[in-house]
Symmetry: C2
Subunit: 527 residues, 2 copies
């Protein structure tokens, strides 16, 4: 689409992913048209009792559903696609464009949720350009990230090109050989980029993020030191890492058993699409691997974050039906704990060690690298695209601030960037960027039971019961204010130094006292 | 006491502080005599709803209270003295020996708890030797740590000398000029140490822990870059850090206001005893500091760990009655988050930034160092004392394992050390160390309300209510199984997609159905 001067501003409205890591969800709106870019989920934090999944408040999109022309997906991580199946229950999306691996995973989710018919899924290849509505052309630019088949997108709009990096780091030696398309980025930089929206995850960390490939020799060393069974855990979605682990399994002649549904699922899709290349006979199910010598076994498992229901956590708790740790086992954590998971992870490590496993973990081992670029990656992105305006995204507040400082060092003027929160309406024109109001925003909490949304009121009630406990009293009273029978008293979660039977007795006494003194007063209220 | 060959084994029974960081509590028992070394508290972890303080199960000590000859305190941190006031309600301790600063703080705690009369407090100076009972002589050896007036102790027993490091690092340039008494340690190493019990906190970290003094130039740089008001937060118990901050306040001509009860308390005691030296006119209360120019103000505050009720957290939440953040303020976090507090800390940082503060934080700044020695400090301790047997303490399981590996590198044979858990009975003789049984151990949870202990059953009830919510139904039924009135239904913390009024209606219907069908069956049960 030819760039022309539009009188209308482009509205960019992120509904999730700002002031947080998670549930990335962004709206682009121009006149009567709206496109969505990614729609992720987040996981509950402390105090969100009984909550399974956190979603952004989608009121604004729901109310403007007639404007939706389509959605753009950058890659298949849960914080980018995990919300889509839920949203499709509320509104239809005419078409969703995305990479093959992300679309394969999304298709499964939509089918499971029974909403496969509420959208059309279209896969894209590198350098594909898709038209959405009258006003948007979206160009897919291959990038490098911990998830395979990941993209940066250039959104051509009537007022100019907006580049949304998606999640990225600059990995010049990618495991799957799919290089970052620096040429297209540079070409946009040369022609002129109106605005860059860029991943801020590691904006507090100096330097470059090492290549995923740097993990290989370190894991190789760890593998060669293992005498008995080898357990390896990493993020179920880290395709490249899993690829390395499988290559090393082959090298060290270990047969692989995969434990954990999400990992099985991803490996199936990634092998299907060629992002992981290995023979079928590398794998065996758990029950047949049991007959192999310990030194020929590798168990690849979920649970790198100490998730309570994951296979590795259950193994560490001696609660896994089929796997017991024994002396001589080696367990490798090829992942760092995400802040908030640290305690769960180190407790898992301790429990595994207590059962006799040798556990390899920690930052000094070189067996994990981030999928997101650090300050130098972020500078390179800014230098390649040379944007007029800058919008740091995908990060908590202080990360956005640090990223904006980095952008200023590269020469973007401070007045050409805004630090925003979810729900902010960013108005972008050919010569200005500003926050112009706010749409409804916040979070929606999906209950563990899957039966509905957890409201603030419910959370407060749950928090209060958790902190203080609850006493319920059922008393039948006649019209003269006398107890008809012994009141039924139930005490749950209440701390006291006196015995429960005594509590019951005291409560009964107190009820009788109150009835004696104040019955006429209560009685009047019923009149 | 002359070392002699005893037939009786020395029992070492840690009741807290192992497989955790916190609530360090250790029993030494020889024949009919028992001494305690430290008695700390810990803070609740996830899922301990409504719990304020975690204490070790003291059943074993309570049952053997007649054997208690006295207690030895190494230093004044909460994880070493915080449990004493609670325990004194259960049993008396004839005498407690400890450093002046720790004893000053302990005295206040005992008075507050009304148990000051249940023990005798005796202060010690470096190289003091105190006799406790017939069998124990305890020698106080000055060490260096984040808390001033801290000690390693050499416990002379009938079977030999046991050295308990307390908490330590080797700081050759201590802020208060009180050097680690390497000479006494070395002398014990020369004469022969039967067993070393050593601090494992940083046993996963290579290298030496930097001197506390290394923080000075970095904080100095941060202070000189602040134009407006300066807020500084650190651990309330880090005497040396507070000392540095006050020195820098004087240098930069800022008047100091202290916010937070625990910090006020510690600074008062430390100034009193000469561990912090500064003039009275350096300080002013909050209400008068308000009249000073911003650049002349330093507010020293608690809240470095994002504790919900602390001053800085309340300031960040805009809930502090007297302090509001404004543009131009600088807030300095001179402390790293303890694992488990990370989320609370970064959220506090984000909220302060959103209100316009410049926040200085993070490992790259050099404005925090640990008070515990790393692997090289631990090696130096082993090299100076040359122990026959080794017992790693003060750490989670994997830290104990790492520390035992370090000890093996220094030449202690693997069979001369044991990895233990709280409640294990370590039997030590002149030529053997072994685990010989277990005493009752576990945790006791003090309720937020202070009214009693939180049992496992109460915690489970609280957890269940927090996850699922609770429905209570009170129904009055006549002898024929008919509802006498509309049942009272209360729904708390329950997630549902239907309206509450509709829930009430449905529950009533269901009660009537059940009464209709099954009343005769219920009725029989009453017969
Ligand atoms: Zn991603
Ligand atoms: Zn992401
Ligand atoms: Zn300490
Ligand atoms: Zn300690």
């Amino acid at each position: 689409m030819a760039k022309k001067e539009g009188n209308t501003a482009l509205k960019i409205i992120p509904l999730g992913g700002l002031h947080e890591i998670g549930k990335n969800t962004c709206v682009f709106e121009y006149e009567d048209e709206m496109i969505l870019l990614d729609a992720g989920l987040a996981f509950p934090t402390d105090g969100m009792h009984g909550v399974n999944i956190v979603l952004p408040d989608m009121s604004y999109v729901r109310e403007n559903r007639h404007k939706i022309k389509g959605m753009v997906v950058t890659h298949g991580h849960e914080d980018h696609i995990g919300g889509i199946a839920f949203h499709l229950k509320q509104f239809e999306i005419p078409v969703i464009h995305g990479p093959r691996l992300a679309m394969a995973m999304l298709e499964g989710k939509l089918e499971e949720a029974g909403v496969r018919d509420r959208t059309e899924l279209k896969t894209v290849l590198p350098r594909d350009i898709v038209r959405i509505g009258k006003h948007f052309l979206v160009e897919y630019i291959r990038n490098t990230h911990s998830m395979a088949d990941s993209f940066t997108v250039a959104i051509h709009t009537p007022i100019g090109v907006v580049i949304h990096t998606g999640d990225f780091k600059f990995d010049h030696t990618p495991v799957d050989g799919e290089s970052f398309d620096l040429q297209r980025l540079a070409e946009h930089g040369e022609k002129g980029v109106l605005c860059l929206m860029s991943d801020s995850t590691n904006s507090e960390v100096p330097g470059f993020t090492p290549s995923e490939r740097s993990v290989y020799p370190n894991l190789d060393r760890v593998f060669s030191q293992a005498d008995g069974r080898l357990f390896v855990t990493t993020f179920a979605s880290s395709v490249h890492r899993i690829n390395i682990i499988l290559q090393l399994a082959k090298k060290h002649r270990r047969t692989v058993s995969i434990v954990g549904r999400s990992m099985l699922n991803l490996i199936a899709h990634a092998r299907n699409l060629g992002y992981i290349k290995c023979e079928d006979d590398l794998f065996q199910p758990l029950n047949s691997i049991r007959n192999l010598p310990d030194k020929d076994v590798l168990i690849l498992t979920t649970g790198s974050q100490g998730e309570p229901m994951s296979a590795l956590t259950r193994i560490s708790n001696k609660q896994h039906p089929h796997i017991k740790i024994r002396e001589g086992d080696t367990v490798v954590f090829s992942a760092n704990p995400i802040p908030g998971n640290t305690i769960a992870v180190v407790n898992t490590i301790d429990r595994l060690m207590m059962q006799g496993a040798k556990v390899v973990y920690g930052r000094h081992q070189g067996i994990h690298v981030s999928g997101h670029g650090c300050q130098e990656d972020q500078k390179l992105m800014l230098a390649l695209t040379r944007p007029k305006f800058f919008l740091p995204i995908h990060g908590e507040h202080r990360m956005l601030i640090k990223h904006s400082e980095t952008a200023q060092k590269i020469g973007v003027p401070a007045e050409n960037m805004v630090i925003i929160n979810n729900g902010n309406i960013v108005e972008l024109t050919t010569n200005s960027i500003k926050v112009a109001g706010k749409v409804e925003s916040g979070i929606e909490l999906v209950d563990t039971s899957g039966s509905g949304m957890v409201s603030d009121r419910v959370l407060q009630e749950r928090q209060r019961m958790a902190e203080e406990g609850l006493v319920t009293i059922a008393a039948a009273i006649d019209w003269n204010g006398k107890l008809l029978a012994k009141p039924e008293i139930h005490v749950r979660g209440v701390v006291t130094t006196i015995e429960r039977s005594l509590i019951q007795k005291r409560i009964k006494q107190r009820i009788e006292e109150i009835l004696g003194m104040r019955w006429p007063e209560f009685f009047q209220q019923f009149d």
